[in-house]
Amino acid sequence: MDVNPVILKFVYAATVVSVIMGLCSYAVLAERKISSWIQGRVGPNRTSLPLIGGIPLIGKFLTRLGIYQPVPDGLKFLFKEDVVPAHVNKFYFIMAPVIALVPALTTVVVVPFGRFVTEAGEVIPLVLANVNVGLLFLFAISSLGVYGVVLAGWSSNSKYPFLGGIRASAQMISYELAMGVSVLPILIWVNAPGREGTLNLFDIAQAQSGFWFAMWMPVSAIIFLVCLFAETNRLPFDMAESETELVSGFHTEYSSFKFGLFFVGEYAHMVVGSCVFTLLFLGGWNPMPFVTLEALGFGEGILGAILSVGIFSGKMCGMMFFFMWIRWTLPRFRYDQVMKLGWKILLPLSIANLVVYTIFIFYLDTKL
């Protein structure tokens, strides 16, 4: 059977985007459930679907778990009144939520989520676009997400959204630097002389068959993680939203589906961020340090591919849980503390980390 490869790409893209959207909607549910568990509450437990909810035991159990909650959560955005205040700049106001969501969904194309080993022993990455500049592409596009926030804040023509937008841009600038510098040791190691140079996320994940990078570059991992929280605007860094100070920050004036887009964008950023952290520092689809799927005998074929995707998604969900766990543990930083942490602590630390690991990797590569 011959299928036009272009059409095939469209099918893949649609599949991946729907999976990401599904993950986002269930991430919202997970967020609500985890917050309620941490706060000693029950969380969403009433929404039921007519037929499935009626199944004895299972239907009741799933209802208690809130499995059907994402459906009304999403529909709610469609059916609410969509208010566009009179004082906004309409063009940018309507464009902002789109700009917030698109980069998050675009970055997904370079994120590999598993590997497939053919019988000939050839390793094929399961990814939409296996580009060599993967990591650079990812950084470049994901930073564009902040434009959505800034535009929303600016075009709302209202003081709280404006402050939120300013904060978001300042925060993005401050943490992007430390984030970029913190992954350099990995790139130096992966691209060491004598190795085939790459920025490909797939190859970086494959390079962690021994130690995971989080294990021998813990400082990088921590800096990257902190910056990831800042970049995704998650607590304790949700300066742009900070509902206790700025009402609702940049999306104060948004309602209905436009707000929904921001909401999905935030969670899509989180999903992609979790994927990237897993790929860079947590060994991708390697089940354990020093244990690859090949070593366990699940290398080849469909089973190996499914296992690799499963392990990767498991780690990713773990990261998502960590994101939410942090959110419901830590209070928000003050704005000046965020700036101080970014410029005075994380940036110098990441540079020092880079210097130390450059010397260390030089030593490893030449003397050993």
């Binding site: 941490i38 766990w325 942090i326």
Partner: protein, 178 residues
């Protein structure tokens, strides 16, 4: 004199943030496994403490006789004037003909009632009681005026053993000095 609380300066580990964050995370992680404190309201009801002042009701004594003798003290004392009583004679052929009076109509307007409990306090017959019911709703104003049947339905029977009017009757019949 103001109380001055000395703040201990942060030690090195605390200044690093991370150990403290880990401590916070462990606290919240433990909380995840604890039983939720939520009372799932419509299915689970709170335990009502004794002496709770809910919706005012009329009660009957263990013999099934309405205790109210329509003295109208509650109507008189009611601060928001929520109570309307139309007193009536008790028919000659009734079993309780010896009782002074009974209410023909007894209405409590729940839109006016402030649940102060003065009617219960003032009632010489212990006929009106503020009981456990705390939630009450209706679609019209008329629905929220409890008439005599509603009040007795809500009130039920008060298991007291006074039997004041039976004793009165016995005293009248046997001429004892009670």
């Amino acid at each position: 004199m103001p109380i001055v609380i000395k703040r201990r300066p942060l030690n090195f580990l605390e200044k690093l943030y991370l150990p403290e964050i880990a401590r916070g995370l462990s606290t919240t992680f433990k909380k995840i496994w604890e039983k939720p404190v939520t009372l799932e309201y419509p299915e689970q009801r709170p335990t009502i403490p004794e002496g709770y002042r809910g919706v005012p009701t009329l009660v009957k004594d263990p013999e099934g006789r309405e205790k109210c003798v329509s003295c109208q003290l509650c109507e008189f004392v009611c601060p928001p004037k929520a109570i309307r009583i139309k007193p009536g004679e008790i028919p000659e052929n009734s079993e309780y003909a010896h009782v002074e009076k009974g209410p023909q109509e007894f209405e409590i307007d729940m839109l006016r009632c402030i649940y102060c409990g003065m009617c219960q306090e003032v009632c010489p017959e212990e006929a009106i009681w503020l009981q456990n019911q705390f939630s009450l709703s209706g679609y019209s104003r008329e629905e929220l005026v409890n008439n005599k049947e509603d009040l007795y339905e809500l009130g039920g029977t008060l298991p007291d053993e006074h039997f004041k009017w039976r004793k009165k009757k016995e005293a009248a019949e046997h001429g004892s000095g009670h």
